[in-house]
């Protein structure tokens, strides 16, 4: 995977995650977040941060994929498996601890986040697999 693919992967995944987060976090779960006493009001957070953090995470996932892609089958399915595994390693150490530490955080939300991570990871993996697919047809 070359630098151009790293940037392309970051942009595509970042845009998709931003759209998904806008719908899921910004609309569907907004009232849930407002009811968590340990959280500040969502409206008080500049949305630029949400957008930026999604792109930073997209960059890191794409960068990490470049590092470990040789351990997975070189296909969209293999990369999708990477995405699902990565989602598990990202979510498990953090979302459940947040559920324990933050006042008023409902544990069902930690499970929902885990599912969300896995779906986001699978989508990101599929995109990375498409970008890094061997160009057999042009060989």
């Amino acid at each position: 995977m070359k630098i151009k693919q790293l940037l392309l992967g970051t942009v595509i995944i970042g845009v998709i995650w931003n759209i998904a987060d806008f719908i899921l976090q910004g609309i569907i779960l907004k009232s849930t977040y407002e009811s968590i006493s340990g959280y500040v009001s969502m409206d008080s957070i500049n949305p630029v941060w949400w957008i930026l953090f999604d792109f930073i995470q997209a960059f890191l996932v794409t960068w990490f994929f470049r590092k470990v892609m040789s351990s997975f089958e070189r296909s969209p399915q293999g990369a999708m498996l990477f995405g699902v595994f990565l989602a598990i390693i990202l979510a498990v150490p953090t979302v459940f601890i947040e559920g324990i530490t933050v006042k008023g955080f409902p544990m069902w939300l930690a499970w929902l986040w885990l599912v969300q991570y896995i779906i986001y990871g699978a989508v990101a993996g599929y995109i990375l697999g498409m970008l890094s697919k061997p160009k057999i047809a042009t060989a």
Partner: protein
């Protein structure tokens, strides 16, 4: 399988020791001053201990999946640990500073550095166990 279980237990124990010192002693007063983290003092230590073992399990399992992408020596496993720490911490901990009531921004950087260093240590443990296995093979 035996190697996997030994690594999980060794890393889980190391994680609990490090977290007990860092979060339970050094940062205890900081957490007590953060209003959103009041749940820390309600007797949930068992969950933190369990959580460290689960994190150790995930860390070890994923290394088993991707170790061929790293040098087959302790340094390669340390590098894996550093990468793992970076990808788990960034940008999640930065976002915590925005989202949690009264969470100081500096603490997100402390968490990030601590996590990366901790996972580098866990990588070293994994590397040492892998090395031992190679030596006896």
């Amino acid at each position: 399988m035996k190697q996997f279980l030994i690594a999980t237990i060794a890393i889980g124990v190391a994680a609990n020791l490090l977290d007990g010192i860092i979060h339970g002693i050094f940062l205890e007063s900081t957490y007590a001053a953060i209003p959103s983290m009041g749940a820390m003092d309600t007797g949930k230590a068992g969950w933190f201990i369990f959580g460290d073992f689960v994190a150790a399990l995930v860390f070890t399992w994923f290394y088993g999946r991707v170790h061929s992408s790293f040098d087959q020596n302790p340094n390669g496993a340390v590098l894996y640990g550093i990468y793992f720490g970076i990808i788990v911490a960034i940008p999640t901990f930065m976002f915590n500073a925005l989202q949690f009531k009264g969470f100081p921004y500096w603490l997100s950087w402390v968490w990030t550095i601590v996590l990366v260093v901790e996972f580098a240590i866990y990588g070293a443990i994994l590397g040492a166990l892998t090395k031992k296995k190679t030596a006896t093979a």
